[in-house]
Symmetry: C2
Subunit: 254 residues, 2 copies
DNA sequence: TCGCGGCCTTGATCGAGATCAATCCGCCGG
DNA sequence: CCGGCGGATTGATCTCGATCAAGGCCGCGA
């Protein structure tokens, strides 16, 4: 059910119950009074401008965040200023988990476009977790999903050639857009080619060349940030480098 | 079936209170009655022979595990049999988290040597989490640590040259051994060169060559699986590819 | 309107590391 | 004690993608 007027949007932002994302998000499987209590621990949404940091690497941890609208990138930066993009985060996705270990953010999160997030102050959240086993379980599930996704990304970084990385990246974005009830074939990349390159462990030039190559192959239509996937089937096929190449077949390790 | 004398040994092994690892492990910061209750939910330790699977990819999830002794490797295998090693797990480390998302293991865990694990049946653990906020917090901390470690590994896989990968890997192992009150300079690699190569996203040959090169440089002493670190300082220096090379300096992304 | 500064693309060249190939070594079983 | 096998090493060559270099495109501000 679509509530149409923009007027409702502000209202929507406050209540998990009326949030279109609730089934993908922390409240999944939680309702009634429990949901109301979860709602109450969510602090006023923060709005971020493009490029604005949600939290900085090394900064004091005090809350987890769920993307509400827009998109974020997370990255780490080493002593000499080298940046590694860790991920892109769409609405419904949780960020900040890597900070619980020692109360300091191990990474930085920045808005890729004008975005809003729900802030979950950790002390309040903790209280609630103690009282709501279902929330506790759901949080673990969400975190587990994140870990599993990171494992997938290790496969990509480990031994996939550039083209496969690109294909897998685009499919992943496409799937996530589709879940958000958007068109999975029309991507509006909010991140730069540099971000994509860093995320995939490639050089910008390679990313650029791959976009052209995929366009020439009739798989994509590329116009700056606007990507249309013309042939999901071919893109899909491209994800598994079906050949022997790319190594480490079963049994080779051990 | 256990004879009574072995039973005593098991009894000893059963108790978190008397476990040397407790401070690194789930029980950290938990004591008294709570600790006893945690103890009770830990099922009989499982012992694994070298190469034996603790759980298989796709298998039904029902418990988390903490390595008790020995070491494990986790990996995923794609449709065409390609293997990507995700990590090596030493005593005190938690495995199985990626299965909570959908009740099925997204990866496989195998013993690298004769090993034992503490099994935490998830339904019982859940019960306990509801009753012990401190355990709940500690579990999240441990999981967060794992996520942060994975982020570090993405940096490695993303843009580090082979030699840096190797150095970082060895330092990480050394640190983890040291925390276990073993000598951090004497590593006894339980994994094969293939495993290391897969984990680091390199070819076996490259790993082998790096070992020889590091030995020639006087940094390591290598004798098959037995590695001695002669110059921690040089190894440390090698971890940050201090030069400009390795790209993506600050500001380049975005 | 123009010019400037990002980002992005395209082309040319280079090199780290993969792949191919040939031993070597340690271990286990007969 | 020998033979074979799987893991590890070493060497030769090749290749993918990085790097270097040179514009092009777009948006924005003067």
């Amino acid at each position: 059910m679509e509530t149409s007027s923009v007027l409702d949007l502000n209202q929507l932002r406050r209540s998990c119950a009326s949030c279109a994302l609730s089934e993908l998000c922390l409240p999944a499987g939680i309702d009634g009074d429990d949901l109301r209590r979860l709602d109450d621990t969510i602090r006023d949404k923060r709005t971020l401008d493009r490029g604005e940091a949600l939290f900085r690497q090394g900064g004091q941890f005090h809350a987890l965040y769920v993307v509400r609208s827009g998109s974020l990138r997370t990255f780490v930066e080493d002593a000499s200023g080298n940046v590694q993009v860790l991920g892109f985060h769409l609405p419904g996705e949780l960020v900040g988990v890597d900070a619980l270990a020692n109360d300091h953010h191990a990474s930085q999160a920045e808005a890729l476009e004008r975005s809003s997030v729900c802030e979950l102050p950790y002390d309040r959240l903790n209280l609630l977790l103690g009282q709501m086993p279902s929330l506790q379980r759901q949080l673990m599930r969400v975190v587990s999903r994140e870990v599993a996704a990171e494992h997938q990304h290790m496969v990509v970084m480990g031994r996939q050639p550039a083209q496969e990385r690109m294909a897998i990246f685009l499919r992943s974005l496409s799937d996530r857009y589709a879940r958000l009830q958007r068109d999975g074939d029309t991507l509006n990349l909010s991140m730069s080619r540099y971000d994509i390159a860093s995320y995939l462990g490639l050089a910008v030039e390679t990313v650029s060349r791959l976009f052209t190559r995929l366009e020439e192959a009739g798989i994509l239509e590329v116009s700056r940030k606007a990507i249309t996937i013309r042939r999901q089937d071919l893109l899909e096929a491209m994800c598994s480098n079906s050949g022997t190449r790319g190594g480490n077949r079963k049994g080779e390790a051990l």
